[in-house]
Subunit: 208 residues, 2 copies
Amino acid sequence: MLISLLDGRPQTATELARHAQITPQTASAHLSKLVSGNLITKEVQGRYRYFRLINPNVAHAIESLIAISSPSQVRSLRDSDEEQSLRKGRTCYDHLAGKLGTELAKALHDKGYIESSAGDYNLTDHGLKFFTDFGIDIAKVRLRRRKFIHPCLDWSERTPHIGGALGAALLDRITELGWIEKRPFNRAIRVTAEGKKGFHKNFNLLVD
Amino acid sequence: MLISLLDGRPQTATELARHAQITPQTASAHLSKLVSGNLITKEVQGRYRYFRLINPNVAHAIESLIAISSPSQVRSLRDSDEEQSLRKGRTCYDHLAGKLGTELAKALHDKGYIESSAGDYNLTDHGLKFFTDFGIDIAKVRLRRRKFIHPCLDWSERTPHIGGALGAALLDRITELGWIEKRPFNRAIRVTAEGKKGFHKNFNLLVD
DNA sequence: TCCATACTTCGATGATAGACGAAATGATTT
DNA sequence: AAATCATTTCGTCTATCATCGAAGTATGGA
């Protein structure tokens, strides 16, 4: 259930139960433990309870556990189509990850939109202009409580992708533009034809 | 026991049992599970069995779990003298962490010895010269299988310190120079008088 | 008003984890 | 050779976990 929540989408108890292949009663018991353990939050909306990871640190911890879990334990995932698409591109809590995510991070850096200093990313003047043209209100993004840009280690690529407030804003905007589509029931994504053009034109990225 | 192993020092079953306040029988059972789960390795030396974390990824995962564990669970540690010294300076598997570790990372960056790009650190020409003068054979360090520089998120400072092959080489050299002393039974370190001078002279760091 | 749906609570069951005493194994010291 | 020490193996006990059926409580729709 925690892995399922990694993409940041709030999910209901029943959805999570189906994903974990357990009954709603069992899921309910586990979820309430996770809530009281401060790993996830519960939001009541009508008869639905939406659960989500409490913060990106939890996502990070889960990813780092996946990264060290032995191949045999994830073999069912590793061998599956599902994992193939996860490696290509996926969302990580609330930003892009996988090959697409790390390549995008690299492109943003190569184009001089972001630069890194002491392990942190900073937006350049050049980048400020780019993101604004791209339809992201940087001033607004900066106002958010969380870290502006967070380098998030990717478990499949073993190199960082862009997390933090900017990563979330970027994912939102890319989704809004129709460049990617989320797949049902997991956190893999599909790049649309529109998206392939966009990634190439804006970031010099060739997506297969 | 895993937390105790975080400093990278190999430890015997009995030491780990004492640290965890369990009997050697119990420790043995847990350790063998950790070995077969590929989290730690066992090295036989006479009648002693030395255990250590299998690789830095495991250390990283443990640190990220500590980072999200609720304060109430670490309160006994948080309130203790032990934790105070851990916060000041400690080793994280095989490199420096804590306040000293993060400040050193910042200093290396400020002095232009390392620069960061897309969330990764790179050594500058300036840095190459510095580390060579400092007594570290960079060519040799680069040959090692692991990542050259790995930004490792620090649980107490919430900002990165220098991990990877260079982080390990740096800790080795600093230990060799007698700048720090490891404390018995935990991974806290003490900066020697020699070290205070050295950190100030070489990195502009004031250590208290 | 009645029923379906989403979720939780309660209670029971079987499996397992964590712990340790006792005893065995192997290495080191005396 | 005997004693000591580090560790493991075995057996056993207790507590806890994960699970689900049954029943209960909201919510939303017909």
